[in-house]
């Protein structure tokens, strides 16, 4: 597949050939189910004529059905473009196809989508990861040049790792959430999933910047990172030692190889420890579900999407929501309602807010000594469909990705090798807030050294 960097140099007529070729490939590889259109047997959604970029089904594109992978949003048509969509259009790119996702971005396998399963292109028995599993599978399967995903607790980095792509979550506030279907507003960020680090930097530069219609968008001038990428910079990189110990043997082995490679590149490696990741998981599931219970209260069958028939308004709310939401979404709404309800608020929600400060401070402490942090993306490689039937077990597969969202920091998942079954393994670099230049420079150094 042509890279995004190369595609940006193509003349107009070649772009239209590229779009036609992609449509043919998407049709041929229908069994992967990376795009919602592959699962619903509809023509690929289009808007504009630029270089095609696959868009997660929770990012608004005018005139498209944008459903967050949910039954409750069937029939909804997006009335405006998300800021990231306007930004890509301004730069010669165009939204092309809706990628499959876990319903409302709540999941780590894309199994909870209303439309059905997305398969991992490296092994069709395995999940692509989630929640941006469709975006990662589209890029990994040669069905997209690049894609946009969203990351609330790892939903860009984890599927990128499972599918062998590069996935990047920007600093909270760097990319506007205007037009992103809200799951957990203080954690959600849109970011790129691409074939290589440089493409990720290019796409990140295109979507980043202040948006006055988004009160959580950082009001600072965006300094482009793609133009000054420097893989020759030498940095201090902190490896989280106890996280290595928690990973599977094969993930650990590839991480150790990658650390050696980074050292050979001239980076200084230091070893530090984090608190047990179970506290990150606990903090995340309190805060994310609390915010989700509030955000998802807007789906009531009145204004958009699916309405269940009833003569009684309250009954209509209840039926529309009970029929429209899938099981995992209902579970998280109930949990979020619980932690915010009177009598439990202090013991759960307030405690989690305090823990969030603690987690952020832990990162700040390490960043006094290092420019970057290096850790695995996932404890294992992609798992098989249906292998994690217990919700808590699924939550525990996110141990390395969640704390970064809680701290608001940027991170990138870079392929560092494959396991004995040929499944990709990802390594994760993290930088200080707004230090995306450090992040991409380090990622490029790692990528180059492993080639």
């Amino acid at each position: 597949m042509i890279t995004l960097k190369e595609a940006l140099k193509l003349p107009k007529e070649e772009i239209s050939n590229l779009r036609a070729d992609l449509k043919r490939v998407i049709q041929e590889k229908k069994n992967i189910g990376a795009y919602v259109e592959q699962l619903t047997c509809k023509p690929i959604s289009e808007y504009g004529e630029g270089i095609p970029v696959a868009i997660k089904d929770n990012i608004q594109v005018t005139g498209w059905e944008v459903t967050s992978g949910s039954n409750i949003l069937q029939g909804y048509i997006a009335p405006y473009n998300a800021t990231v969509i306007d930004n890509i259009l301004k730069n010669g790119l165009a939204p092309f196809g809706r990628t499959n996702m876990d319903e409302f971005a709540m999941g780590s396998s894309t199994e909870s989508s209303f439309y059905g399963k997305t398969l991992n292109p490296h092994n069709l028995k395995c999940v692509p990861g989630g929640s941006s599993g469709g975006s990662a599978a589209a890029v990994a399967g040669g069905m997209a040049i690049a894609a946009l995903g969203s990351d609330t607790g790892g939903s860009i980095r984890q599927p990128a790792a499972f599918c062998g792509c590069v996935g990047m979550k920007p600093t909270y506030g760097k990319v506007s959430r205007y037009g992103l279907g809200a799951y957990s507003s203080s954690l959600d960020q849109i970011g790129p999933i691409t074939q290589n680090v440089e493409d990720a930097a290019i796409l990140y530069d295109i979507i980043a910047g202040h948006e006055c219609r988004d009160s959580t968008s950082a009001n600072i001038v965006h300094v482009k990172v793609g133009e000054s990428l420097n893989p020759d910079r030498k940095m201090t990189i902190a490896v989280i030692e106890n996280y290595l110990e928690d990973a599977s043997l094969e993930v650990k082995a590839k991480m150790i190889d990658a650390i050696k490679v980074l050292e050979k590149e001239g980076h200084k490696i230091i070893y530090r420890n984090f608190i047990n990741s179970k506290y990150d998981i606990a903090t995340y599931y309190v805060i994310a579900t609390a915010e989700a219970s509030a955000n998802l209260s807007r789906y009531d069958g009145v204004r958009y999407g699916n309405r269940a028939p009833s003569d009684n308004l309250k009954e209509m709310f209840r039926k529309s929501r009970s029929d429209g939401f899938g099981e995992e979404v209902k579970r998280r709404i109930l949990l979020g309602t619980f932690v915010l309800s009177s009598g439990y608020y202090d013991a759960y929600y307030i405690k989690a807010q305090k823990a969030r400060h603690f987690i952020k401070a832990q990162y700040e402490e390490i960043f006094k000594e290092a420019e970057l942090i290096f850790m695995p993306v996932t404890p294992t490689t992609a798992f098989e469909f249906g292998s994690k039937s217990d919700p808590l077990e699924m939550y525990l597969s996110d141990i390395y990705t969640i704390s970064l969202n809680l701290a608001g920091l940027p991170g990138i998942s870079v392929p560092i090798g494959k396991d004995s079954k040929g499944l990709p393994i990802g390594g994760q670099l993290i930088s200080k807030a707004y230090a995306e230049q450090d992040l991409f420079d380090g990622a490029m150094s790692l990528e180059r050294a492993l080639r």
């Binding site: 029939g75 909804y76 048509i77 997006a78 009335p79 909270y172 203080s186 006055c212 009160s215 959580t216 950082a218 009001n219 179970k278 506290y279 998981i281 606990a282 903090t283 599931y285 309190v286 219970s293 209260s297 009531d300 069958g301 009145v302 204004r303 958009y304 999407g305 699916n306 309405r307 009833s310 003569d311 308004l313 709310f317 209840r318 929501r321 009970s322 939401f325 099981e327 209902k330 579970r331 709404i333 109930l334 949990l335 309602t337 619980f338 932690v339 309800s341 307030i350 405690k351 989690a352 807010q353 305090k354 823990a355 969030r356 400060h357 603690f358 217990d390 919700p391 808590l392 939550y395």
Partner: protein, 96 residues
């Protein structure tokens, strides 16, 4: 703590959801497991941490209150709403 049927009923009411009879036992078990898991936060020493967390340095920005309506958005939403009439959303009768 254990979530019981009475608490689940309260949560269903608060969130306008109804868990079917055949799913109740499973949901109660899963929620109890998750709640027990998140209680590990009690092991952390958090007495000196702040109780509110903000992602935006300097607080939420203020702007002038200028009316800003895009008629296309209104039109698209109304045209695709479950039920609408004369620029209103229609819902089941509230007052007899």
């Amino acid at each position: 703590m254990k979530i019981d049927n009475a608490l689940l009923q309260k949560l269903e009411n608060l969130s306008s959801l109804k868990i079917s009879n055949e799913k109740r036992e499973d949901v109660i078990k899963q929620l109890s497991e998750i709640v027990e898991f998140v209680e590990n936060l009690g092991e952390m020493d958090l007495d000196n941490e702040e109780t509110t967390f903000t992602t935006i340095a300097g607080g939420t920005p203020l702007r002038e209150d200028i009316p800003n309506v895009n008629p296309n958005i209104i039109q698209t939403i109304l045209a695709n709403a479950p039920l609408s009439e004369n620029s209103f959303f229609v819902v089941p009768k509230i007052i007899e």
